[in-house]
């Protein structure tokens, strides 16, 4: 009997869709020219393809193509945004950054690195549902604040942050607002002008595009220093021959993702809510994050008295790919900073399971997960010295 294989880690990465792959293929073999050489056919094709992808990306965000800069991914975009703004404001002696305690490490570790160099960072707390505390955020502004960076959607617990309000506050205070929207793009409608976003990071591989490509939106008027110096690519801001197939893939992926948001949300929310309500029937179980302000594909649940890595391994033995915020899935001894930030005790945070469903998830997959999780949890609890049955 063939075992069912279920991929339920779509917040980690997604497959490249058939449509995206098809769009990319000619740029490996046929139109392989260097976009910088526009005087002959192959180069012209490649250059036009990059600019076409830029148009598609800008359309998904409501900005102009000139405001889109392609990068190697979300992490690079975050690094560029934060380091770039702070370096640009150095002359004005604005050395303060506001962020949240539960950002992705691409932001947190970049801020930590800048702290070592003498910059100051305020980490705004989040409430127990995993939403940033706006009153605390407002109090964090100083005369020296140059940048506020808050993620659009948390990658572990899927909570949607009040980005529009944060954008308004930043605009009012005259502070640049960056958001890491890697988990939001394709899941939520985004308009950088409606949300008052000045800088936005996104990634291709979370939305059925290829790995190794992302983008940074930079509002017109904000001048970031060049990330990589060299040729004139990306307006001289990020030199180096473009990853043409990757950029084409990102353009197609973001166009596809942005065009089907309402249908996608409706379909995934239904499956997500069934999953949550069934899994919460298991005793000593809690949903992490908000039930209402939650991205359509995210389920994050803690199971008392067991540890997350064991859950993942046992699920993998049943053919289901999921993830966890347990310490044992990282190299540190602490469980997920996100789960600790929403107030979970260490022992509860260790026993968390993140299931992220996506476009390829079927109702049969959900049935299989609902059938498998109680078996896995039961088996591990039977082995646990702290489980009192």
């Amino acid at each position: 009997m063939n075992q069912r294989i279920v991929y339920a880690d779509n917040a980690a990465t997604t497959s490249v869709s058939g449509n995206v792959l098809k769009a990319m293929m000619p740029y490996f073999t046929e139109h392989y020219g260097n976009p910088s050489n526009k005087l002959y056919g192959q180069g012209k094709y490649a250059s036009a393809a990059v600019e076409n992808a830029r148009i598609k990306t800008s359309a998904a965000l409501g900005c102009t193509p000139e405001e889109i800069f392609f990068t190697s991914g979300g992490t690079e975009a975050d690094n560029w945004a934060i380091r770039g703004v702070m370096s640009a404001f150095l002359q004005e002696n604005k050395k303060h950054i506001i962020t949240s305690v539960f950002e992705h490490h691409a932001v947190l570790n970049t801020c930590a690195e800048l702290e070592k160099k003498g910059f100051e960072v305020t980490y705004v707390p989040v409430d127990e549902e995993g939403i940033i505390k706006l009153d605390e955020l407002k109090k964090a502004f100083r005369d020296s604040t140059a940048l506020c960076t808050v993620m659009f959607v948390n990658n572990e617990i899927g909570t949607v942050q009040p980005i529009k309000q944060i954008g308004e506050i930043c605009r009012e205070k005259g502070v640049i607002f960056h958001t890491d929207a890697v988990q939001a793009v394709g899941n939520l409608p985004i308009d950088v002008n409606v949300f008052n976003i000045d800088l936005l990071s996104l990634s291709g591989h979370k939305i059925h595009g290829p790995k190794g490509v992302g983008a940074l939106y930079v509002r017109k008027g904000i001048v970031l220093p060049s990330l990589i110096t060299g040729g004139a690519q990306e307006s001289g801001k990020r030199a180096g021959t473009e990853n043409v197939p990757g950029i084409v893939g990102l353009g197609t992926a973001i166009e596809d993702a942005a065009s089907g948001i309402p249908e996608r949300t409706a379909r995934l929310e239904k499956m997500r809510d069934r999953l949550i309500s069934e899994l919460l029937k298991i005793p000593e179980t809690r949903l992490n994050g908000s039930a209402s302000h939650r991205i359509c594909g995210n389920v994050n649940i803690s199971f008392g008295s067991i540890e997350g890595e064991g859950i993942i391994l046992a699920m993998d033995l049943k053919g289901i790919a999921v993830s966890s915020g347990s310490a044992c899935t990282s190299s540190s001894l602490d469980p997920s900073h996100v789960l600790l930030a929403i107030g979970l005790p260490h022992e509860v945070a260790h026993g968390s399971l993140r299931i992220t469903i996506g476009d390829e998830t079927t109702n049969e997959d959900i049935d299989y997960i609902i059938e498998t999780v109680p078996q896995v949890v039961g088996k591990l609890r039977n082995m646990s010295p702290v489980w009192k049955n």
Partner: protein
């Protein structure tokens, strides 16, 4: 990341459970760090005739507990005291570096159970 042997012990752990009238019980680790191992031993004429474990922890914690029980089952107390974390790791055909502490816990749990056995016998 794990050897086949580790996964085999994780999937089919040996000697899981408790011993009601155990002669020695050892518990090491804490929930905050994400690992607790509890070992139960039954001793007759200086020989470990039964050993059981319960573990809260990752795959390596479960596999090292299982392997440690196998390595001391039927052994004399003196032999069991010679158990090292290295022996557990070798028997499991290796562990990733960041998981070596699990094998140390397994060794300590066995030794804690033997220590408890001596305490009770005094």
């Amino acid at each position: 990341m794990y050897s086949e042997k580790v996964m085999e012990h994780f999937a089919n752990p040996r000697n899981v459970g408790e011993i009601v009238n155990a002669d020695g019980i050892g518990e090491v680790g804490n929930a905050k760090c994400g690992d607790i191992m509890k070992m139960y031993i039954k001793v007759e004429n200086g020989i470990i005739t039964d050993v059981r474990f319960k573990t809260f922890g990752c795959g390596a914690a479960i596999a090292t507990s299982s392997m440690a029980t196998e390595l001391v089952m039927g052994k004399t107390i003196d032999e069991a005291l010679k158990l090292t974390n290295k022996a557990v790791v070798e028997a499991l055909e290796g562990l990733p570096g960041e998981k070596l502490h699990c094998s140390v816990l397994a060794e300590q749990a066995i030794k804690a159970a033997i220590s408890d056995y001596y305490e009770r016998a005094r």
